[in-house]
Amino acid sequence: MDAQTVIAKRIAQELRSGMLVNLGIGIPTLVANYVPEGVNVFFQSENGLIGTGPIPEEGMTHPTLTDAGGKPVSALPGACTFDSAMSFALIRGGHLDITVLGGLQVDRHGRLANWMIPGKMVPGMGGAMDLVTGAKRVIVAMQHTAKGKPKIVNKCTLPLTSVRPVDLVVTEMAVIEFVDGRATLTETAPGVSVAQVVEATEAPLVRSEKLAEMRL
């Protein structure tokens, strides 16, 4: 199983029926492919849609039914559409149960940097700052390291997305929860040792009493 699949499959286990969920672009989008059987969630697309469905077959796309990247999507029965003020009222107003986003860095207290690399990549924050600040639960989906360097660091060198700490970071190596502001290792991926996770992580890790192997 490749890294992205491990991450997406593990995050999908966090979903419960009835939840309103927003998936970011990249690995987070893949989470929709692994929703456990019997679990029905509402997926929100921040351009103004709840009830986002799969990508339509070729020739079945509609120019006014798109995702936050402007790409064609479908709408499931029971879907609804709304304007951007409503969309972000849902996001900031405590109505969004889970947001899953990609990450560039997460610091030892769980603060996320994921929207710019000064001098290199300045795309704009889009909805990321509102999502991280406003969602009830924030889950980061990212590879554990980038070019061999840890992404879970003592202090973010990149600009923060929000000061609100994330709740969970899921990588292809581990699940890290932020409990009382401390990075806590709760799961390791099959075949990955605690020592390997610690080696690949710059921030100090607390070992959870319930430390277990990731079930996929």
Binding site: S45, E46, N47, G48, L49, H62, P63, T64, L65, T66, A68, G69, G70, A75, T81, F82, D83, S84, A85, S87, F88, I91, R92, M121, V122, P123, G124, M125, G126, G127, A128, M129, D130, T133, G134, P159, L160, T161, S162, V163, R164
Partner: protein, 215 residues
């Protein structure tokens, strides 16, 4: 509300005007008005919109033609022209979190001076802004936004100018329709009054100044 040709509608817009433009990655952008802005070579425009779409689409056409002096948007990442223009110092870009941008516009259209949002507190977004505590929680004071013109695209417009929108093409459109001195609308379909049921009117005709006649 007056019916107007696309040429005459865009002729109302002077160089240097501020425009709010509907659309999200070009979906729901009044493409005919954009094309006419390019044809009439309007210069030094200030555009307030969610994003600058992609090259060749929506606001991307104005970027490529060098017609924008400044952009206020939440995301420019899918349009390399905007990024290059910003790096070269040809376009000033003010990046605003999407939820903050739409609320600032909503405030502008609602007679409010601004809004208090937790988004951006403790990040580079808070630079130069007032931080206000309410019940022990920190918020940024984000001021209201208005523009000279709102360029709106609707799905249905009736003869009076009542508007409804299609699916994800709604996005910024009904919000900007409240926040500009002059509101210009294009619609996929212009229909007799009564076709849009009162319950389904999203933007009331009373705020629409010009409805661009269909071809």
């Amino acid at each position: 509300m007056k019916t107007i040709s696309v040429e005459s509608a865009v002729a109302l817009i002077p160089d240097g005007a501020s425009l709010m433009v509907g659309g999200f990655m070009g979906v729901g952008t009044p493409e005919r008005l954009v094309d006419e802005l390019v044809r009439q070579r309007k210069r030094n425009l200030l555009v307030i919109a969610n994003d600058t779409a992609i090259p060749g689409r929506g606001i991307g056409k104005l970027v490529a033609a060098g017609q924008l002096g400044k952009v206020v948007a939440s995301h420019i990442g899918l349009n390399p022209d905007t990024q290059q223009g910003m790096i070269a110092g040809k376009i000033a870009v003010d990046l605003v979190p999407q939820g903050t941008l739409i609320e600032r516009i909503r405030a502008g259209g609602s007679g409010l001076g601004g809004i208090l949002t937790p988004t951006g507190v403790g990040t580079i977004v808070e630079e130069g802004k007032r931080k206000i505590e309410v019940d022990g929680k920190s918020y940024l004071l984000e001021t209201a936004l208005r523009a000279d013109f709102a360029l709106v695209h609707a799905f249905l417009a009736d003869y009076a100018g009542n508007l409804s929108y299609a699916l994800t093409a709604r996005n910024f459109n009904p919000v900007i329709a409240m926040a500009a001195e002059t509101v210009i609308v294009t619609a996929d379909h212009i229909v007799p009054m009564g076709v849009i049921a009162p319950d389904h009117v999203v933007t009331p005709a009373a705020v629409v100044d010009y409805l661009v006649a269909n071809r």
